[in-house]
Assembly symmetry: C2
Homo-oligomer: 146 residues x 2
Amino acid sequence: MGTTDLSIGQVSERTGLSVHALRFYEREGILANPVRRDLGGRRVYGEDDVEWLALCIILRASGMPLPAIRRYTEMVRQGDGNEEERLALMRLHRERVTAQIGELTRCLDLINHKVGVYEDILDRGAAGHECVAPPSPENRPEHAGR
Amino acid sequence: MGTTDLSIGQVSERTGLSVHALRFYEREGILANPVRRDLGGRRVYGEDDVEWLALCIILRASGMPLPAIRRYTEMVRQGDGNEEERLALMRLHRERVTAQIGELTRCLDLINHKVGVYEDILDRGAAGHECVAPPSPENRPEHAGR
DNA sequence: GTAGGAGCTAGAGCCGACTCTAGATCAAAT
DNA sequence: ATTTGATCTAGAGTCGGCTCTAGCTCCTAC
C-alpha cells in the first residue's frame, strides 16, 4: 500500500534529472517533503516527489533560479496560510517569463529579417550589399514581414 | 571626416556593455573589423562597430553562445561568398529561438494555472486542497483558461 | 565467495560569460 | 606640479547549476 516507492535511479529515469542533480536538489532544499531512507540509508521517493520535481523542472526551464524555487518549496512545506506569498512569487515569475518571451520575440524579428536578407542574396545570386542594422524605424521604412 | 570616432567608454555607454565586456568580446574575436588604436594605444571605435555590437547583443540575448557569434563574425569578416553558411547559422539559431519561445510558452501555461489556483484560494478564503500537478489531460478534464 | 551494479557522502571540478584587480600610462584640469 | 580620470594589459575571481571523483557500503547473481 505504500504508494509505489522509487529509488533514486528510477526517479532519475522518470524526471530526466541525473542522480547527481537529484541529490544536489535535495541539498539545496528543493524537495517538498524530506526524503525517506531505507534500512541501508538509501533514498526512497514517492510518486508525489516525482510530481513535485516535474513542477520544479518547469520552473527551472522558465528561468526561475534555485534560491527562488527553494523559497517556494519552503512555503509549500509550511502548509496552508501563506498563499499570498506563493501567489506573489508566481506572479513575479510570470512577469519575468512573459518579459523573456517578449524579448525573444523581438530578437526573432531581427533574426527573421537576417534570414530573409541572406535568402534574397542567394535567390537572386546577387551579391548585393548587406545591411547590418536591425529593422528599426530609421532604416526600415517598410516593415520586413515574415 | 572620420565617421565619429568613439572611445571605449562611449561605446560602453551606447551599447550598455561594460568596458570590460568590450575588451573581452574583442579578445573573443567578436568584432567585425580589428579595432583601431590611437597614438597612446587606446581603442578607437566607429559607429559601425556600435551597430555590429548591437547585432551581437541581440544574438546573445536570444541565447546564441559566444563561439557561434565568433564563427558568424569570421564569416562576415571574410566577405561575400559564404552567404549559405551564414544563412544556415541564422536558420539554426532561429529554430532554437522559436523552440525556446515555445517552451517558455508552455511553462507559462502552468504558471498561469498556478496563479489561478492561488487566486481562487485567496478569493474564496477557502483553504482548499491545492493541486500540485501540471494541467495535463489526466488531471484537467476541462481546460483551465488563461 | 566474489564480481557487478546501485547507492552513499564529501568535496573537487567545470563551463560560460563576464567582472574585477593590480599596476602602469597618459591627457586634461587645478 | 599634481591630481583626477580614463585607458591599457595580463590574469585572477565569481556565479549558477550542475557534474564528476574517490572511497565506501550494500544487495543480488553466479
